[in-house]
């Protein structure tokens, strides 16, 4: 019998045989399912965060430079006169991009949910005249004060507010929800790391004999870690694909329901191609995180062996 050659080459990869080194549980084991749930929740949280970010960005762009003028005057004729004077005054200014007098019918339609049909009966409940103004550049506090002072000199019944001012609580709420989404993504990532760490520790324990044999036959920490990385990487890939499908499916259903609301604010939350690519990167990041966690866990445990 011819004995084989003496072989000792660095720290090569096992190649395709690595998949046979550990018994594989695959979908029969809990790991792919745990990762699928984590990825699905992360995809939903990331999607919600990105959507809220778009809502806020669109709303900010829409009301940037926006100012609302109310002419509060009880007598209809005087109110109309002052409103026309305000429109003329504002239209003549160089720093004003557009001026739109909100028609009385539109105002009545806005108030109808609260005041009922009486809102359309012009004098049953006196309502202020509304003028939607768009300034060039951002509305600073000083600019607002100066404009208000000049307008009131011309139109004593005029009251002027920045649209961003009364939408500030909405933006604060959106920002809080964004922080919540980021927090959820971070917590889910930490939970995934913990789950993979536990799985790797458990796999280390149940395959200790195999590891010791490979170790005694000259297997390096890197070779042994790669066996586990491969195993957990496969689990994470399966779980990641399932989680992505689940998460995107849930987002699609929610998106349909929100779209049915017909709200302009909600419509601004639709996701761009970049957002979808970011969401598609979640399972990839999950797989990389799982592989990295497995490597750190396994090499840490192996270092305790000679």
């Amino acid at each position: 019998m011819a004995l084989g050659p003496v072989i000792r080459r660095g720290s090569p990869r096992f190649g395709s045989s690595a998949s046979r080194m550990l018994p594989q549980a695959r979908i029969a084991g809990p790991m792919p399912w745990v990762i699928a749930i984590m990825i699905a929740l992360t995809v939903m949280a990331a999607g919600a965060g990105l959507s809220l970010s778009n809502v806020a960005a669109n709303a900010r762009a829409e009301i940037a430079g926006g100012v609302t003028v109310q002419v509060v005057e009880g007598a209809p004729a005087a109110r109309e006169r002052q409103a026309q004077r305000a429109v003329i005054f504002l239209t003549g200014r160089e720093d004003v991009l557009s001026v739109r007098r909100v028609p009385d019918e539109e105002l009545a339609a806005l108030l109808e949910p609260w005041l009922g049909d009486s809102a359309s009966q012009s004098e049953a409940v006196p309502t202020p005249a509304l003028i939607d103004v768009r300034l060039s550049g951002p509305v600073t506090g000083r600019r607002l004060r100066d404009l208000r002072a000049e307008l009131v000199r011309e139109v004593p019944a005029a009251r002027l507010d920045a649209q961003a001012g009364w939408l500030a609580p909405v933006f604060d709420a959106i920002r809080s929800l964004q922080y919540l989404a980021i927090g959820l993504v971070v917590l889910l990532a930490l939970t995934s790391i913990a789950a993979v760490w536990l799985a790797a520790r458990s796999a280390l324990g149940s395959n200790r004999d195999t590891i010791e044999v490979i170790h005694h036959l000259g297997g390096t920490d890197g070779q042994i870690a790669r066996i586990f990385q491969r195993s957990i990487g496969m689990d994470a890939s399966l779980g990641g694909a399932a989680g992505l499908a689940l998460g995107v499916g849930a987002m699609f259903v929610l998106g349909q329901q929100f779209a049915a609301l017909g709200s302009g604010l909600v419509a601004g939350g639709s996701l761009s191609l970049g957002d979808w690519l970011a969401i598609a990167a979640v399972p990839l990041a999950g797989v990389l995180l799982a592989i990295l966690t497995a490597r750190i866990t396994v090499t840490g445990a192996l270092r305790r062996m000679l």
């Binding site: 004995l3 050659p5 003496v6 072989i7 000259g218 000679l306």
Partner: protein, 245 residues
């Protein structure tokens, strides 16, 4: 470290204890030479397995110095040890076959660890299985093999990569006398190719089967030297055999 010369292994005043228990090996000093055949004997509990653990680098000594292949192992960084282990073939007393791998895959393991391609390993592994009489069982899992068959797979795994040192712990304990002789002939063949062989056994009949072998005897963790194997210069000439290519 002294007298290393062309030695392959040298132990200097090595002691080993597990935890805070008394030493299981005390003041062990010896030199092994390339191409020699050694038997390590002693009663159960004498420390044979502990000594072999030091030899196949499963354990560091608690004191003393060990040199192997001309390198001081005590100062070697941990990451360099796999390269030493690949030069050592080990037959474990409890075989330590990987239960979910076939006999073929168990034997192929050292070659895969060394980075041989799948098409390179087919023939040497098949030849080795044929030599130990297990060609027909190459796809069998260890659980379906008898004790003797498992032992032969373990031996095939230990010698497949032609190690420079072969360390075998009771390698013929579970095989019939005919197979025991056949396995010893395999060790001798490997020995003729230049491999230093260390076989731990309590079977005194086995010692007579290899006339040129040298004997180290362990008694309660202390080493004695009935054939002068450990002296320097040795009591008798260490067999020098032509190394086959």
């Amino acid at each position: 470290m002294s007298e290393a010369g062309d030695s392959i292994v040298q132990f200097d005043n090595v002691g080993l204890r597990y935890g805070t228990d008394r030493e299981v090996l005390s003041d062990i000093s010896f030199t092994l030479y390339p191409g020699s055949f050694y038997f390590l004997t002693g009663a159960s509990g004498a420390g044979k397995t502990s000594m072999l653990k030091l030899l196949y680098l499963a354990q560091r000594p608690t004191r003393g110095a060990i040199s192997m292949f001309g390198h001081d192992l005590i100062t070697q960084p941990r990451k360099s040890l796999p390269n030493f282990r690949r030069r050592i073939g080990t037959v474990f007393q409890d075989f330590r076959l990987i239960t979910h791998l076939s006999a073929f895959d168990n034997v192929a393991l050292p070659l895969r660890i060394s980075g041989m391609g799948e098409n390179e390993i087919q023939k040497p592994v098949a030849d080795m299985l044929e030599w130990v009489g297990l060609s027909h069982r190459s796809h069998a899992r260890p659980a379906t093999l008898s004790g003797g068959e498992q032992q032969r797979v373990a031996i095939a795994r230990a010698v497949i990569a032609r190690p420079e040192i072969l360390v075998a712990d009771e390698p013929t304990g579970n095989v019939d006398p005919e197979m025991a002789v056949k396995l010893l002939r395999l060790f001798e063949a490997l020995n003729r190719l230049g491999t230093t062989v260390v076989v731990a056994t309590h079977d005194v009949h086995l010692l007579r089967k290899v006339p040129d072998s040298l004997i180290m005897r362990l008694d309660k963790g202390k080493l004695s030297d009935p054939t002068g194997a450990l002296r320097y210069p040795p009591k008798r000439d260490i067999p020098r055999r032509e190394v086959q290519p």
